[in-house]
Amino acid sequence: MEGLRVAEADLVVYVHPSKSNQVRRAVLRQLSSLLFTHDEIFEGVVLAYEVNIPSKRAKVISGLIPYIGVKIKANLLLFSPKPSMLLGGKVVKLGKESIHVVVLGFSSAAIMLEDIREEFKYKIKHGEVVFASSSHKRHVIKAGSMIRFQVKSLDEEILHISGSLLPSNTGCIQWLSKHGTEDGSYADRSLKTSDIQREMQEEGPLNTTTGDKSPNKTHKHKSKKRTRGDR
């Protein structure tokens, strides 16, 4: 699954003096407030963090309230979907005009009818609503199935993704993993180049002088299930 990466960050957390006897708890609480919200600095949504407070010394900021600036090192799991990425999610609702998907359990995505390729038709099979492919009999999308779709656009505030099932390597993941190699390889190559380009851009060192919130190093999160062998 694309879009997930682990980043190491040097952060400074400002702790209110009333919490000075429970600093670690205050730091964790502060980081928790970042969860599941899109952050511009990290360029993604923080899903999980792991905190390490290296030093017992912290600087007290001078001002009206003497906040304590605690330096920490954190590993952050970031989710940053970009247009034309491929994401996988679980289908929660099938409507005549749209498919509603939930990605990673927290982000909702909707795929409009016009973004679903022609082969999928809305049908009712055995009392259940499905989108069935007319060209491949077994390729069926129903409620609860995992599908792969391409990101069309992203709304950052509520983390809503507009998706598309137009590319041929999208659809039900289970079916694609068995049959995906036919069309997959062609699409693969195009994706592969863009992948490589992206990687080259990101791997340059990102050093900032202020050291406030700076992701120092990123390494791609390699997903286990690989049907297209992307890297």
Partner: protein, 733 residues
């Protein structure tokens, strides 16, 4: 052009009714798709296109279906021969008709053409308002009124509305916040109470689907759903108790919860927004009682629901805030209104015997609340809240709710306000599960008192709560009381040890935490000494505690500083129980308070703070009464109640000897002494208090049903009262 319709009803086992409609005598090629055929003024019928594939299929959309009325309604059956009315099984193509009819999907009769027509209307206005052609605008306005008629409508109009809403559900992604503002406005303003089942379902479906449109309508949808937890404004008082209405209320509530759960499935982060909206949508305490009660009931039901676990303590916190708002607005004058010279014992329990204390209702007219709207509302809401706690307890979730409630209690009740009745919510919660919750509450309060991190005021309030709680809660076992007393006494003892020996002046202000601790110990023992002494191990434990050395500490001298009434009563009981090694003479000071007690109480008069004094609200009283210990029912060490010879506990013999008759007492004003001493819930007469109250924070006093005997001017007490007045005058700023 009217056409004859035959409606054939086919039902499946899954409770879905699918209507097959055959349009007799219409040649479909001549009717353009999308033609609206009006059968009767309010029915919307759209001719579907005939598909080119064989066999030729004609599909129709009909604007109404009514499960309750049945199929016959639509078929002008009288004019048709009977064999044409058939009930074939699902899925079988009809034989022998000119136009085989396709099955309409989903039980919704909105087909793609009905949908298409609605789409056309919507697209027609998707431009700058000045550019919209008139016909488009008219159709759009018509759609707007269909969607929310705003008043009670007939069945047909409702069905029409349901269809339109269903069509809109499919078109949500084409709706624009700006161009379709009035339509959306009408949708969000709908009150779902007014409509029947289908329309409600359609509306909720639409709202749920609207919520999934990225970032545009989620807040509005959630707001609409929350708003629908309020009863409709047109509901007048006599009707709101009718059975039909109550059923409708339950249905609507369930549907709203379902809709919220659906939104939660589709948009997992919705609860975060819901939390914010709940805080915003909470009604103000000035609103009507019934609205408040219904809304709070609805929102507490939401907390019990699945989605509740995502909401955390938001709901409870807001409800408690509302309760507190009402609470602090009840003026003290309205509370203490009883007859000044009426018998004191009678007031507390209302002339009931020990046996049937639960059955006799106290004489509420003479005491307690004057008809006060805030008190009334608070009463109703306390009933709702207690019912919620009860159902949580029955479903096994009491502990989680209790945890949240204690956190809220610490923040809202302990540290900020001194409420009159809201803290009884905690009392009731503890009574539902004494072993866990009751224990936790007591331990929490003790920890706050003993901890060095808390500020003195919080500690004093905590100990006041603890003392009142342990004294008044029937469900707390004596063993727990004894163990907490041990902790308190140990703390006081340590405090005494740390005193500088060269200090020989009492400074109540500086040692106020200590004095409040001592007073608490004495107060608890006034209520509980007897029951502790009845158990030999506990009696041993108690008698080994250094109570003596604390209370008779030469420098600190809590007996002088704490409230004289409490000291009085405590000494009397302690003497009887032989708690102290040597009996001591103590001047019987009959006054309620002393200079010293005022000094340690401080501006908020924490020396006279007894939060769990008898509860005064009528309707919710039934929750508290079974577990509440009234002073009259307390067995004191000197009381006569246990005069039977066959008592097993050994300590009884001693106590019997030291009956009340052995006590030196003035027989002239014996009544007075009884009245004064047995007054363990202490609140002076407000009129006398107001003279102080104007100088201090008025809401610091606790109510009590019991009038302390010296409050009103009366010839018997004139002497004391005058004395007090003098002191008052001294203190007046």
């Amino acid at each position: 052009m009217y056409n004859q319709l035959i409606l054939l009803r086919v039902s499946k086992s899954s409770h879905r009714v699918i209507y097959l409609i055959r349009l007799k005598g219409v040649c479909t090629q001549s009717s353009a798709p999308g033609t609206l055929i009006t059968l009767l003024p309010s029915r919307l019928l759209v001719v579907a296109a005939a598909s080119s594939s064989a066999p030729r299929r004609v599909r129709f959309a009909c604007g109404i279906h009514d499960h309750r009325r049945g199929a016959e309604r639509y078929a002008p059956a009288r004019s048709l021969p009977e064999q044409e009315l058939r009930y074939p099984t699902m899925g079988v193509e009809l034989q022998g008709y000119d136009f085989p009819v396709g099955v309409v999907e989903d039980g919704y009769l909105s087909d793609s053409e009905a949908f298409a027509s609605v789409i056309n209307v919507i697209n027609g206005v998707r431009m700058a308002p000045s550019l919209v052609p008139q016909s488009n605008k008219e159709q759009y306005d018509y759609l707007v009124t269909v969607v929310n008629p705003g008043k009670r409508i007939g069945q047909d109009d409702e069905a029409l509305m349901a269809t339109a809403l269903k069509a809109l559900s499919r078109a949500v992604f084409r709706l624009d916040a700006v161009y379709h503002g009035s339509l959306l406005n009408n949708i969000f303003m709908s009150s779902i109470w007014d409509y029947g089942l289908d329309a409600r379902n359609a509306l909720l479906e639409l709202i749920t689907t609207l919520a999934t449109v990225p970032d545009k309508f989620l807040d509005n949808c959630l707001y609409t759903l929350l708003h629908n937890l309020r009863p409709p404004s047109r509901l007048k008082a006599p009707f709101n108790q009718s059975k039909r209405w109550l059923m409708r209320k339950e249905e609507v509530r369930r549907e709203v919860y379902l809709a919220l759960n659906c939104i939660n499935t589709l948009v997992p982060l919705a609860p975060a927004r819901l939390k914010i909206l709940i805080e915003k949508c909470m009604p103000r305490f000035t609103e009507d009682k019934y609205v408040l009660m219904t809304y709070v009931e609805g929102i507490l039901g939401l907390e019990r629901n699945e989605i509740g676990k995502f909401l955390g303590s938001t709901v409870l916190a807001r409800v408690v805030d509302l309760l507190i708002d009402l609470d602090v607005n009840i003026p003290w004058e309205d509370i203490l209104q009883e007859e000044p010279n009426k018998g004191i014992f009678a007031i507390e329990l209302g002339e009931c015997n020990e046996d049937d204390e639960y059955t006799t209702i106290p004489n509420m007219d003479t005491l307690g609340l004057v008809k006060n709207t805030f008190a009334d509302k608070l009463d109703g809401l306390m009933v709702v809240a207690c019912e919620h706690l009860k159902s949580c307890s029955e479903s096994g979730h009491l502990l989680e709710v209790f945890e949240r409630l204690s956190e809220i209690f610490q923040r809202a009740m302990l540290k900020l306000h001194k409420s009159k009745f809201t803290q009884f919510l905690m009392f009731y919660a503890c009574s539902l599960d004494p072993d866990t919750c009751g224990l936790k509450f007591a331990i929490m309060l003790t920890d706050i008192f003993i901890s060095k991190d808390e500020d003195p005021d919080s500690r004093m309030k905590a100990i006041a709560y603890l003392a009142s709680y342990l004294a008044r809660a029937k469900f707390i076992p004596s063993s727990l009381v004894a163990s907490i007393l041990k902790r308190l006494v140990d703390w006081c003892f340590e405090y005494c040890q740390l005193q500088d020996s060269w200090v020989n002046k009492i400074s109540p202000q500086a040692d106020r935490v200590f004095y409040s601790g001592c007073q608490a110990v004495m107060y608890i023992l006034c209520f509980r000494l007897r029951s502790i002494c009845d158990v030999p191990q506990l009696k041993q434990l108690l008698f080994h505690l250094p109570v003596d050395s604390i209370l008779h500490h030469p420098v600190l001298d809590p007996l002088k500083v704490c409230l004289p009434l409490i000291v009085q009563e405590f000494l009397r009981q302690a003497q009887t129980a032989r708690l102290f090694k040597k009996p001591m003479a103590h001047s019987y000071d009959n006054s309620l308070e002393s200079e010293f007690s005022k000094a340690f109480g401080g501006i908020q008069r924490l020396d006279m703070f007894f939060p769990f004094d008898p509860y005064l609200l009528k309707e919710s009283d039934r929750f508290m009464r079974p577990n509440f210990e009234f002073w009259d029912m307390v067995k004191t060490t000197y009381s006569d109640y246990d005069s039977s010879e066959g008592e097993d506990s050994e300590g009884e013999d001693e106590l019997k000897d030291l009956g009340p008759s052995n006590f030196p007492k003035d027989n002239d004003d014996e009544d007075d002494l009884d009245l004064k001493i047995d007054k363990m819930s202490i609140t002076p007469n407000p009129s006398f208090l107001h003279q102080i109250a104007t100088n201090f924070d008025q809401s610091s006093q606790m109510p009590a049903r019991i009038r302390p005997s010296q409050s009103p001017p009366s010839p018997r007490h004139g002497f004391l009262y005058t004395k007090k007045e003098e002191r008052l005058d001294d203190q007046k700023i």
